[in-house]
Subunit: 367 residues, 2 copies
C-alpha cells in the first residue's frame, strides 16, 4: 500500500469536512461578531423579491412594466449602497423601505386586507455578523414596519414586538405613524372583495382549497418584499416586510416577522428571505433550514433552497431568495411566478419577472 | 488488499450515513403523516420542564417540596395518558394545561408581569407526525393558552394568532375566558416590584446586565412550562406555555409561541421544548436546530442539545428538554437550575430539581 487508494483519499476528505464543521461549532460562541474570510468571490451582492404567486401572464403589460421598473429602482438603491461601501444591513432596510412605500407590493402602502377589512403589517431584519435581529408583527399605523423592526433590534432587549405594544414603541421612537386607511389601495380592496365573494368569510377555514381559489384569481399575488445582501466587509443581512395573506384572520402572524421562518442571516452560511404561505415557512423553519443544510450537510445555497422548495414545502407555497458568504445569489420558487432582481460586483444587474418553466412538474426557476 | 482496511470500512460507513439522510430527504414530502419504525426502544416516554433560572437553594424547602409535588402530579397525568395508549399530543396538552392552572409556574395563573403591570401569555403545540402546529401570543384573558394553541392548529388555516385577534377566536370557540387580574399572584407581583426597584423601567434597555440583576434576585425564575412526549404509535409532540420575562415590554413575543424557536416536533428526529431568554432561542432557532443537527449531522439528541447549550446559546440563557423517536429523553440547561421530570415505559418516573454541577464551568446537568 505505497500508493494511497483514491477512494480512501476521497473518503478521508469527506470525513474531514464534517469534522472541521464540528470543530468550528465548538469555538463559535454566539453574539460575538463573526466575519468570513475576505477572499469572498464577489465584493458585494444583493437579491430582492417582490413576492411569489401569480405569473406575469395574469397581469396587464402595463402593470408588469411598472412592477419591473420598481424592482429596478429598488435594486439600484440597494446595489449603490453596497458599491459605495455601505453595510448589508443598510442596504436591505433601504430596499424594503422603498418597496413599502410602493403600492404595487404587499407591504406598507398596498398591504392586503385582513378578515376584518383592516391591515396588519409584519416585518423583520437580521444582521448575519452577530445574529442580532428585530421584528414587528400586526402593526396597523406604522408607515414603515421595516424601520421599526430595525429599532426593535437596536433599541430593545427583545426580538419581536406585536400589535399595540409595537405601536407604543414606534410612538416613543418618533417613527412616522399613519391612519390605517393610508395602506388601502383600490387593487387590494378589490382582491379582498373578490376573495370574500368566492369563499365567504373563510377566517375559520382549514381547507387549503380555499386558498387555491384565491391563488387562481388573476388579481392575486403574495407580494411580500424581501432583500438579502453581502457587503464589502463580508457581512450578510436579510429583511422581509409584508401585509400577509388576503383575508387572513385578525391577529394572524405569518412567517415574515419570524426569524428562522421568513428571514435569516448568518455570516457563516447565507442570508435568506422567503415569500409565500407563511404558515408553511414557520412549520418547517424554512429560512433557518437553508442555513442549517449548508452548515451541517455542507451543501450549496442552491441545493439547500431547492431541497426546501421541492421536498419540504408543497408546490405553490412560495419562493426564496438567498445570497451566500461568497456572494453567490440564488432565487427560486414553486409558484407560478416570483418577481425578483439581483446585482453583484461582477456587473450583474437584472430584474426577472417571468413564467415558471413547466409549472406543475419541475417548479423551480433558476437564475 | 484481500482484507478490508478497517479505516476504509469506517470511512465508508461515515459517508453512507449522510448519503442515506439525503435520500430520505428526497422522498419526504411534508404534510403527509409520517410514523417511525415500530422498533422504538421505549413504548412511550415523556419529559416535562417547569422552567430554568434560579437554583433550588434560592427557595425555601417548603416551596421546593411544593414544586416537586406539582411536577410529580403533571408527570403522572402525562405518563398515564401515554401508558393507556393516548396520543403524545393529548399528553403534552394536558400536562401544560395542569401546569397553567398551578400558580407556581410562569404560565396561566402565576404568569409574570410585563412592563405595563399586566400579563401577556404565549403558548404553542406541535404534532411531530405531520408538522401541524398552533400557537397564540400576547393573550391576556384566555385561561389556558395551550388549549387555544391547539384550536389554532386544528380549527384555522393559521399557525400563530396574537393579541385581540387570538382572544376573538377564543371567544368564538367558547374556551374559558378570565379577567387579566386572574393571573396575578403575590409572588409575581413582588418579583416585578423588585425588578423595577432595582433596574427602573427597563423596557427600552439593551443591556443584558439588567437581566442579570433579575437573575440574581432570589425570587427570580423563568418558570415557563413545557412537555415533550412519544406515544405508543411512534408519534412525537411538543408543547410550551409561558408568561414570558418579568417586566418584558408590552407587546413582546418570546420563543414559546414560535415554532422552531421554543417548540418543535418531527417524528423523524425529536420533540423539543425550551425555557429561558426567549430572544436567544428565536435568534438561533434553537428547537429546530436540535432536530436539524440530528437529521443533517446524524448526531444524537444529547449531542444536539449539548451543542446548543454550550456553543449556540450563552451561559445562563436557559434549558431544553427533548425526547427522540426511540424514546430517549435528554434534559439539560446552562442556568443555575431547571425543574424537570421524566417517565418512560421502562418504569422510569422521576422529578429533578437540583443545583447545576459546576455552574460557571461545565454548565450542563445530564439525567
Amino acid at each position: 500500500m505505497k500508493r494511497l487508494c483514491p477512494i480512501f483519499v476521497l473518503a478521508t476528505l469527506l470525513i474531514a469536512q464534517p469534522l472541521s464543521n464540528s470543530l468550528c461549532l465548538a469555538v463559535q460562541n454566539n453574539d460575538q461578531p463573526r466575519t468570513v474570510e475576505k477572499n469572498q468571490k464577489m465584493e458585494y451582492a444583493i437579491a430582492i423579491h417582490g413576492g411569489a404567486g401569480s405569473s406575469p401572464a395574469q397581469f396587464s403589460q402595463e402593470a408588469n412594466a411598472m412592477r419591473r421598473a420598481s424592482m429596478r429602482a429598488a435594486l439600484k438603491i440597494g446595489s449603490e449602497i453596497l458599491k459605495s461601501g455601505g453595510t448589508a444591513l443598510d442596504a436591505v432596510e433601504k430596499v424594503c423601505l422603498l418597496m413599502e412605500d410602493d403600492p404595487q407590493f404587499n407591504s406598507g402602502v398596498g398591504a392586503v386586507f385582513n378578515s376584518d377589512g383592516s391591515h396588519e403589517l409584519d416585518a423583520s431584519i437580521m444582521d448575519g455578523s452577530n445574529q442580532a435581529c428585530g421584528a414587528v408583527a400586526g402593526v396597523s399605523r406604522v408607515k414603515n414596519p421595516i424601520q421599526l423592526a430595525r429599532l426593535v433590534m437596536t433599541d430593545t432587549r427583545h426580538v419581536l414586538l406585536a400589535g399595540q405594544g409595537a405601536e407604543k414603541f414606534a410612538a416613543e421612537k418618533g417613527v412616522a405613524m399613519v391612519e390605517p386607511s393610508y395602506f388601502d389601495t383600490e387593487a387590494t380592496l378589490k382582491a379582498w372583495q373578490r376573495f370574500r365573494a368566492k369563499s365567504g368569510d373563510s377566517s375559520s377555514q382549514t381547507d387549503v382549497e380555499k386558498i387555491k381559489i384565491f391563488n387562481e384569481d388573476t388579481g392575486s399575488y403574495m407580494g411580500t418584499v424581501g432583500c438579502v445582501a453581502l457587503d464589502k466587509n463580508g457581512n450578510l443581512a436579510a429583511a422581509t416586510s409584508t401585509g400577509g395573506l388576503t383575508n387572513k384572520k385578525f391577529g394572524r402572524i405569518g412567517d415574515s416577522p419570524i426569524v428562522g421562518a421568513g428571514t435569516f442571516a448568518d455570516n457563516e452560511t447565507c442570508a435568506i428571505s422567503g415569500t409565500g404561505i407563511g404558515e408553511q415557512y414557520i412549520r418547517h423553519a424554512v429560512a433557518y433550514d437553508v442555513s442549517a443544510q449548508m452548515k451541517y450537510k455542507g451543501v450549496s445555497l442552491k441545493e439547500a433552497i431547492d431541497n426546501n422548495l421541492a421536498s419540504r414545502l408543497n408546490q405553490g407555497d412560495g419562493g426564496l431568495i438567498g445570497v451566500d458568504h461568497d456572494g453567490n445569489i440564488y432565487m427560486a420558487f414553486n409558484t407560478q411566478g416570483m418577481t425578483r432582481a439581483a446585482a453583484d460586483s461582477s456587473g450583474r444587474f437584472e430584474v426577472l419577472w417571468d413564467e415558471a418553466v413547466n409549472y406543475g412538474e419541475s417548479t423551480k426557476v433558476e437564475k
